[in-house]
């Protein structure tokens, strides 16, 4: 059943290669199906695996479906579903999006290291295609090069893991005892390899170019794909390597937070500014994951979910504005609904009360204090301070500056979606359980290695 998540988009992608005009409805179909599949199997609360070709784990490739991968897949597919509702965004990228969807789902669900490499590479290649929209070729190319290097390093790490443990199955690898020096090599290489997709400093040079280059890329890459990538960070460093190498991640993540916010502060381009902000938020999440406890990881993904929803709204609105107006001053006077949702989303990003970001940020800080980590909260609050600066600046610019004569039609679907999502952010503030429950289950699943190993290696269910 779960393998449908990968199979259907893949299949439909190939179908739509032949009938190009069908790409848009097929993408919608794929998204709906995936959502249906996911909703049908709401929170498995146990580790289910789906073996491929009757190879019992640790042999062969298997898909793992537990709370963590379920929640990640849910978020990933949710955003694909939202994108599929907006035909003008999907325009001639239906195939790429379907492939990206398949790859992201595969990346999330797979229980095999090498398979995850394969999915990551497909993800990179399709993401590059998506990134090249609106003639953003050079930046897409840069992304490709960086993704390629990262892929090689990830592959290298996988091979090291294989030579050290003799297995590629994540559960099996996590059981094995690995010599300290190999572990260092493996985790470092994984950190670097994933760092590109997880937007860790200094491997995130591609972000501004890709996110700032068109209106589709940030909407989907900044939400679904980065969620998938950050899920893998949690899976590898939380479940498989038991927190080894977390120090590297922690340090890099803290630097990332500051660097991201500082770079966002000076940015004059709306999309790029929030691209950097998403760099910084990724830093927060990675640093939180590197803490390794189930609560910390749960909060990290809670924060990531809030951030993804907010970012989706922000990039949606920003993309619309940037490609319809030359001068952004005071545009929200003409698009009040877009403006209101944008403002709510940005305030959620900062963590003002009444919005979801408040819940996650404060919980994270509280959790850190209870872990006696005094540095990270300080860094985070400093970052938030910088964030306040540019968020307020953008809001003021977009709402209050003198407007120009340019006109554009109100995008009805996008506006409705943005409004609903930003109201969702308010709802999450009032009732954080909407996201928090799932995120905490995800955190538990990621941190609970024993259960994972047990689930993967001894129970065999389903199959294809």
């Amino acid at each position: 059943m779960i393998s449908l998540l990968i199979a259907i988009p893949l299949l439909l992608a190939f179908v739509s290669v032949m009938w190009k005009r069908l790409a848009k409805p097929l993408f919608f179909l794929a998204a709906v199906t995936n959502m249906t599949v996911l909703l049908a199997s709401w929170f498995p609360n146990s580790v289910e695996i789906h073996v491929m070709g009757s190879w019992k784990p640790p042999f062969g490739i298997n898909l793992v479906f537990d709370n963590a991968s379920f929640y990640a897949a849910l978020v990933v597919n949710f955003f694909f579903f939202l994108v599929s509702l907006m035909p003008n965004l999907v325009e001639s990228y239906g195939v790429s999006l379907m492939l990206l969807m398949a790859a992201a789902n595969g990346f999330v669900l797979t229980g095999d290291l090498f398979n995850s490499f394969v999915f990551m590479e497909i993800m990179t290649i399709t993401a590059v295609t998506v990134a090249s929209r609106r003639e953003n070729f050079y930046n897409a190319f840069k992304y490709l090069i960086l993704g390629g290097i990262a892929g090689s390093i990830y592959l290298l790490a996988t091979i090291f893991a294989y030579t050290a443990t003799g297995s590629l199955n994540m559960a099996h690898v996590s059981m094995a005892t690995i010599s300290a020096s190999s572990l260092v090599a493996i985790t470092t290489l994984y950190a670097i390899g994933l760092g590109v997709e997880a937007k860790l400093f200094p491997l995130n040079g591609w972000v501004s170019g890709v996110y700032g280059g068109n209106d589709l890329a940030p909407v989907i890459l900044g939400t679904s794909v980065s969620f998938a990538a950050l899920y893998m960070v949690g899976r590898l460093f939380g479940t498989v390597f038991h927190g080894s190498g977390a120090g590297v991640l922690y340090t890099l993540a803290l630097i990332t937070i500051i660097i991201g916010e500082v770079a966002a502060l000076r940015q004059q381009n709306l999309l790029k500014a929030f691209a950097y902000s998403s760099v910084a938020q990724a830093g927060v999440v990675v640093a939180m994951i590197s803490k390794g406890t189930s609560r910390a990881m749960g909060l990290a993904y809670f924060h990531l979910t809030n951030d993804a929803v907010a970012k989706f709204v922000i990039f949606l609105v920003a993309g619309f504005l940037v490609y319809n107006y030359k001068n952004l001053n005071g545009v929200f006077k003409k698009h009040k609904v877009l403006g209101a949702s944008f403002s709510m989303a940005t305030f959620s990003l900062v963590g003002f009360p009444l919005f979801a970001g408040f819940q996650s940020k404060l919980r994270i800080i509280m959790e850190l204090f209870s872990m006696k980590d005094y540095l990270f909260p300080a860094v985070m609050l400093l970052a938030t301070l910088i964030e306040v600066g540019y968020v307020v600046r953008w809001n003021v610019k977009l709402w209050f500056e003198e407007e120009t004569d340019e006109k554009a039609d109100n995008p009805i679907v996008a506006g409705t979606l943005a409004l609903i999502l930003s109201l969702l952010l308010v709802a999450v503030f009032i009732k954080p359980e909407i996201f928090l429950g799932g995120a905490m289950k995800m955190g538990n699943a990621l941190a609970d290695t024993k259960d994972y190993i047990h689930g993967v290696l001894s129970v065999v269910k389903g199959g294809m």
């Binding site: 040079g205 591609w206 770079a263 502060l265 800080i365 609050l381 307020v392 209050f400």
Partner: protein
């Protein structure tokens, strides 16, 4: 109605008000005003000690309680806000975004009330941010510079707020509770001075940022100076008082004398408090000196708010019964005075469209009621009897002299005399003197705008004569915080205010005034009636010169014969080349900006080659570090 219901329904109502205002903003403004009046009556009817639950957040109960402090601060805030709401019914027609203004001002009211009611640090934080956020969105509705002002306001406020948050969680981590009174109890018995001091200063920094105390004062000038004119009254009269409230909470609700009794610095005042006092004193100096040289009248009063914030902090910081009451009473005085002053300025700007003192003059002939409101407000602000402003200054001086804090006292005196200087500058430049020709058709503002001003003035005057209704809740507050609970300062049966070094009778002082005026008036009427010199002659008759002493010269353009630029040139010259903290902060901002440029240039812009370089370098460094 429970407190929590009140606040939440206020927040919801504010959104409703927005849509009503979309239909008719005036209806929204009137509704706002009615809600404000209801809130005042509600606040006065509440009993001390009422508590209410707001819900739970991360397993912590969010609680609201109604204390003497909440009563006092809410009442003061609402007085200011309701006046501005009434003022806005007419004033809003000069504004571009009346609907949003109506919504945010109500939201801000809810936020401020929530801050005053909060029983724990997180509730306080939540409502604090609501108040900041909604006020931050009103600020950029003003003129061009106000956009930048909003950003600076938000960042400065946030810098304080996040330090506060850090402090709150530090306290939570150490004491396992966020409830203010419980934290206070734990802190008394906590032996570690360093952490206590850290918590204390971090919590106080929110108040420091908000009430414009020295290192974080620069936002006041730009935000108060450029916000929509009537809203400056709320900013300076009410929002700044949120900061004073937090300072009071940190200094008094956490009994700093007992908590830091082991580090006395001077005259029984702990070093932590003394640090705050030093900051307050610095603010007084900066605020006064900068206010004296401002040409923009709103910025002038903004700097005066810095100075007065310093007074409040000094008063509360001493933790002396007199000083504490003086500081808290000063909250009331400054709130009323600043609100009236800013409303008067808003009226002036409403009619003349400029806030530069050097472009105005002689408006007394056209706007006498506005002038009177301004006059009485500055009498209160400068701390001259019989307005209420004097009482608080007197109390603060009592405390300073009693403690023998002569340098602080010196600074307080300096600020007080300096305040004569700066409040006089707009009085002379804007209202008195010669009326420029372009304003010859200016009219007095309509009653809807002057009634709130005059109401506040009357309140201030009445409190100046009979201060006991305000002093009672303050005494209650003092009892709550256990500052010399046996001492009585307000003696209403003998009409006396008693200090450590003597007392005075405000009613008597007022009566002396009346007697003095009566005698003066009798003398005035006894002697020949004056012939009127018409200062407006050049406006009425084409070609008529000014009929005042001009050294025999004929002058036909009144604005040429009006002294309002560089009013204190002789004094200003003495500190022309002063160091500017604002520039330091600007440098800091520029540093971050340049850092961003640098980061961008080095890590984000370059070609794939550089990316490769960074990836390789990172791998090498990480391996090097880990092996």
């Amino acid at each position: 109605m429970a407190l929590s219901t009140l606040l939440i329904s206020l927040l919801v109502t504010s959104v409703v008000i927005y849509f009503i205002s979309k239909v008719s903003w005036r209806a929204g403004a009137i509704l706002n005003f009615l809600i404000g009046v209801f809130l005042i009556s509600y606040v006065f009817a509440l009993h001390i000690g009422v508590t209410s639950n707001l819900g739970t957040l991360f397993g912590q109960k969010l609680q609201l309680t109604w204390t003497h402090a909440s009563y006092y601060f809410s009442a003061v805030s609402l007085l200011v806000i309701v006046s501005v709401m009434l003022f806005a019914i007419k004033w809003l027609d000069s504004q571009k975004y009346p609907a949003a203004f109506n919504m945010f001002i109500l939201m801000m009211t809810a936020g401020s009330l929530g801050v005053f009611m909060a029983a724990d640090l997180i509730t306080l934080y939540i409502f604090w941010e609501i108040a900041v956020l909604s006020s931050m969105l009103i600020v950029p509705m003003g003129k061009k510079e106000s956009r930048k002002a909003a950003v600076i306001y938000a960042v400065m406020s946030a810098s304080g707020t996040y330090m506060y948050l850090y402090g709150a969680f530090l306290a939570f981590q150490r004491y396992g509770t966020l409830n203010i009174s419980e934290i206070a109890r734990h802190m008394v018995s906590d032996p570690s001075t360093g952490i206590k001091a850290a918590i204390f200063l971090l919590l106080a920094s929110a108040g420091i940022a908000k009430s414009g105390i020295f290192p974080l004062h620069t936002w006041l000038r730009i935000a108060h100076g450029n916000a929509p004119d009537a809203f400056s009254a709320v900013l300076s009269g009410q929002l700044v008082k949120l900061g004073s409230y937090v300072l009071m909470i940190t200094v008094a609700a956490i009994p700093s004398l007992r908590v830091f009794g082991n580090i006395p610095f001077y005259s029984g005042i702990p070093a932590t408090n003394y640090f705050l006092i030093a900051l307050g004193a610095t603010s007084i100096i900066i605020g006064t000196l900068m206010a004296i040289k401002q040409d923009d009248m709103k910025m002038l009063i903004a700097f005066s708010s810095v100075a007065n914030g310093g007074y409040i902090l000094i008063g509360i910081g001493t933790m002396d019964p007199m000083g504490f009451e003086g500081g808290v009473l000063h909250v009331f005085n400054h709130a009323i005075a600043a609100a009236v002053i800013f409303m008067a300025f808003a009226s002036v700007v409403y009619r003349t469209h400029t806030k530069k003192i050097s472009e105005l003059g002689g408006l007394i002939h056209k706007m006498p009621i506005t002038f009177l409101a301004y006059l009485f407000a500055i009498i209160s602000l400068a701390g001259i009897p019989p307005m209420s402003g004097f009482i608080s200054k007197w109390m603060i001086y009592q405390a300073l002299v009693r403690k023998g804090m002569f340098i602080t006292a010196f600074i307080a005196f300096f600020g007080s005399i300096g305040s004569f200087l700066y409040v006089f500058r707009p009085l002379a430049g804007v209202f008195l003197g010669q009326l420029p020709k372009k304003y010859k058709d200016v009219k007095e503002v309509p009653p809807v705008m002057w009634i709130p001003m005059m109401t506040l003035v009357v309140i201030s005057l009445v409190i100046g004569i009979w201060p006991f209704p305000v002093l009672q809740p303050i005494e209650g507050m003092r009892m709550d915080y256990g500052i010399a609970p046996t001492m009585r300062i307000a003696d209403s049966s003998h009409w006396l205010i008693k200090g450590f070094s003597g007392s005075w009778n405000p009613v008597l002082v007022f009566n002396l005034f009346i007697i003095g005026f009566v005698i003066a008036y009798i003398l005035y009427t006894m002697f020949p009636r004056p012939k009127k010199v018409d200062l407006l002659a050049p406006h009425k008759e084409e070609g008529a010169p000014i009929n005042i002493y001009t050294g025999g010269e004929y002058i036909y353009t009144p604005e040429l014969y009006h002294y309002n630029t560089k009013f204190y040139a002789g004094f200003e010259r003495m500190y022309e080349k002063h160091p500017s903290w604002e520039k330091v902060l600007e440098m800091l901002a520029k540093f971050f900006h340049d850092l961003g440029e640098w980061v961008h240039g080095w890590f984000f812009r370059p070609s794939p080659s550089a990316y490769t370089f960074w990836v390789s370098l990172t791998i090498l460094i990480v391996f090097w570090v880990r092996w």
